[in-house]
């Protein structure tokens, strides 16, 4: 299944790349992409692991960009 998130206030391109890399490495994630330009994250992954994935992804985002607001779309 596919989930989209808004990363409001994302302003560091290098952190974006790091976030993308780490979210991709999460268990159950098929593919994840973070667009610096649209500040959107799209995660594709297992439906039954999605809840865990979302929690972990938010943690990763907060680690690199603590001021970013993480919102599901």
């Amino acid at each position: 299944m596919k989930k989209k998130f808004m990363l409001e206030g994302l302003d560091c391109a290098n952190c974006t790349a790091k976030i993308e890399k780490e979210v991709n490495a999460l268990k159950g994630v098929e593919s994840a992409s973070v667009s610096f330009m649209t500040t959107k994250m799209i995660i594709e992954g297992d439906e039954d692991k999605m809840a865990d994935i979302i929690v972990a992804a938010e943690k990763i985002v907060n680690k690199y960009e603590p001021h970013v607001k993480f919102k599901a779309l």
């Binding site: 302003d11 290098n14 603590p66």
Partner: protein
């Protein structure tokens, strides 16, 4: 952001004051105050990140570089590094915000509301809540909120936001209207045909917003480069601070630490990491302004290396509408031949029948027709005003043992006989689009090596169109499966870096669109199949947009390469100079912040496609 501006203003005031003042103790205090105003948050995040073990975090690197400068007694440099770093960051986020905004403005086709007709009159609703079958009213100046069909009223539609086409489209009862277009003058009532999520405007927005997820090779290279660049520079900086003073006798620690700190200032890869995707995003945004939708940076990048363009004929280079082209009567008048043939074919629902009726123009009086008999694969016979008329192909003439005109014509030929005597023939063919010739010559102008046409039509018809348009090659009489095969043959002919683009109308050619390096669908407006199957969708039905798309892609790629070379080049030069002691920390600040700003400004150019046609 506003707070940061004020902090930097105060910081600059204290910094200038510190530079002017002569009292040593005040000088130090002012520098420290200036530093704290500029970078206290950077230092805090640096601490937080170091606890997490992330030593290559840019906050940490900047904190070390600036505090290190303080430590070796270079307070002005220490403050400058932090102050300019923050000014650079501020500018970057402003520039990125501007670019995001201008692209968002480009894509400002999302309708905000729909006027829905209900029992209580017109109700303003969120387009997402409107269902297919609902009746909506679109007033002059409003955006069409959902795809639908006009049931009352007529008007002109501005489709430029979707197609880049400036000529408005006339609509009247029965016309399809697409969400995202703007109603210019008349009041129009329409029945909604699709949910908002399935409507044209949602599909286009979705497509452009997701374009960022398919990254180009340049972007992948930069992300990878950044991953190694920062650690490499930091490690060299550490070695530079320690090793030379130990080995070389006259070298001092403060001198080499200064050089190492300059390294740290240059170690941030942000300029690159921002400017390359920004260029591609600008290119994709610019292309969409021209009615060209690109599904990912990777496709835009591939397009720049196009060597072979393969066109499908019908519906792409030609209008896909069959028309009577030639009439060759024998023994009867042209008008009579056309009349009888149109009558004979009246009951057929083949496109040929409708093109005959269109050419005949008058009403068909069905009472004049009797004994209609279809002969599958041959044609039709009928009695019209007590004359026995037979209309069909060569096989029909041979079956009826009628001597016919054996000349070759390009197009579909309908032979006709009246009471067993040959009466002549009518040639029906597809017409070449007005824009096609222009499209081919434009492609030749940008040095496309091979322009090929594939068609299911006869060789004769294919060759005629190819000659008219000036194509390099034509393959005719192909079945849909043969087209894939031909494209595979052509793929083998291109160079290693070169790409093959296939242009079709999205109907029946999904396998070929998928097989080509770049699948381009024409006339995507309103065709879901085309939008699904292709990598690039041309919203209008102008084939000349292919050349436009290639030009935009080449410009974008150029800008991205300039940014890569410029940013890496300057950084390497400054690294080398500071290692040798020729560059000051001020130069390092320029290599970091200045380069980022210049690269971002350069990438803005990708968005400007006004002069590309």
């Amino acid at each position: 952001m506003k707070r940061l501006v004020w902090r930097l203003v105060f910081s600059s005031i204290f910094f200038s004051a510190a530079l002017i003042i002569n009292v040593e103790i005040l000088k130090i205090i002012f520098f420290v105050v200036s530093y704290l105003f500029a970078g206290y948050d950077v230092v805090i995040s640096a601490f937080r990140n170091i606890l997490r073990g992330d030593v290559f975090d840019e906050n940490f690197l900047m904190a070390v570089a600036s505090l290190g400068a303080f430590a070796i007694g270079e307070a002005p440099e220490g403050v400058a590094v932090m102050l300019f770093y923050q000014i650079g960051e501020l500018f970057q986020s402003y520039a990125v915000g501007q670019s995001r905004k201008s692209i968002a403005a480009l894509m400002d086709i999302r309708p905000d509301y729909a006027n829905v007709k209900t029992e209580d009159g017109l109700v303003v609703m969120d387009p997402e809540e409107v269902k297919p079958g609902d009746i909506i009213v679109v007033k002059p100046g409003e955006k069409v909120p959902l795809d639908g069909i006009v049931i009352d009223g007529s008007s002109m539609l501005d489709t430029s936001a979707l197609t880049g086409e400036s000529v408005p489209r006339d609509i009247t009862t029965g016309s399809d209207i697409l969400s995202g277009c703007i109603n210019i003058n008349g009041l129009v009532t329409a029945r909604v045909t699709k949910e908002f999520e399935e409507s044209t405007v949602s599909k286009i927005l979705d497509l452009v917003e997701n374009a960022g997820s398919k990254k180009s090779k340049s972007e992948q290279f930069i992300t990878k480069f950044a991953r190694y660049y920062t650690p490499a520079v930091v490690i060299i900086a550490a070695l530079l601070a320690v090793v030379p003073p130990l080995i070389i006798k006259e070298a001092t620690f403060s001198q080499w630490i200064y050089r190492a700190l300059s390294f740290l200032v240059v170690s941030c890869p942000c300029a690159l990491v921002i400017s390359v995707p920004l260029s591609f995003f600008g290119g994709i945004g610019g292309a969409s302004k021209k009615g060209i939708l690109v599904k990912g940076s990777n496709y835009l990048e591939a397009l720049a290396n196009t060597e072979i363009v393969v066109f499908d004929k019908t519906g792409t280079l030609t209008k896909g509408v069959f028309n009577v082209q030639e009439i060759h009567p024998e023994g009867i008048s042209e008008q009579e031949l056309l009349e009888l043939t149109a009558y004979a074919e009246n009951y057929s629902n083949h496109p040929i029948s409708s093109s005959l009726k269109r050419a005949y123009k008058n009403e068909i009086n069905a009472e004049r027709i009797s004994n209609v008999e279809e002969i599958p694969g041959h044609g039709v016979s009928a009695v019209i005003d007590s004359r026995k008329v037979a209309a069909g192909n060569v096989k029909l003439m041979e079956k009826m043992k009628i001597d016919y005109n054996k000349n070759e014509f390009s197009g579909t030929v309908v032979h006709m006989a009246v009471d067993g005597i040959y009466a002549g023939l009518i040639v029906i063919a597809d017409e070449v689009k007005e824009d096609s010739k222009n499209a081919i010559s434009k492609l030749k102008n940008i040095n496309i090596k091979q322009i090929v046409m594939l068609t299911g039509d006869t060789l004769k018809a294919g060759e005629k169109a190819a000659r008219e348009l000036g194509l390099h090659k034509v393959y005719a009489e192909l079945l849909p499966a043969d087209k894939v095969e031909k494209v595979e043959e052509l793929l083998a002919e291109k160079s290693l870096k070169g790409k093959l683009a296939f242009v079709g109308d999205g109907i029946n050619d999904a396998p070929v669109l998928a097989r080509a390096d770049i699948g381009i669908a024409m006339g995507g407006l309103g065709s879901d199949a085309a939008i699904e199957a292709a990598d690039i969708v041309i919203m209008t039905d102008e084939p000349s947009k292919i050349a436009t798309a290639i030009k935009i892609s080449q410009k974008t790629l150029n800008i991205a390469s300039q940014n890569i070379i410029f940013a890496i080049g300057i950084k390497l030069v400054i690294l080398l100079l500071s290692a040798l002691g020729y560059a000051t920390m001020w130069a390092a600040v320029f290599a970091d912040v200045g380069v980022a700003i210049i690269a971002i400004l350069n990438s803005f150019r990708a968005l400007n496609v006004k002069d590309i046609d």
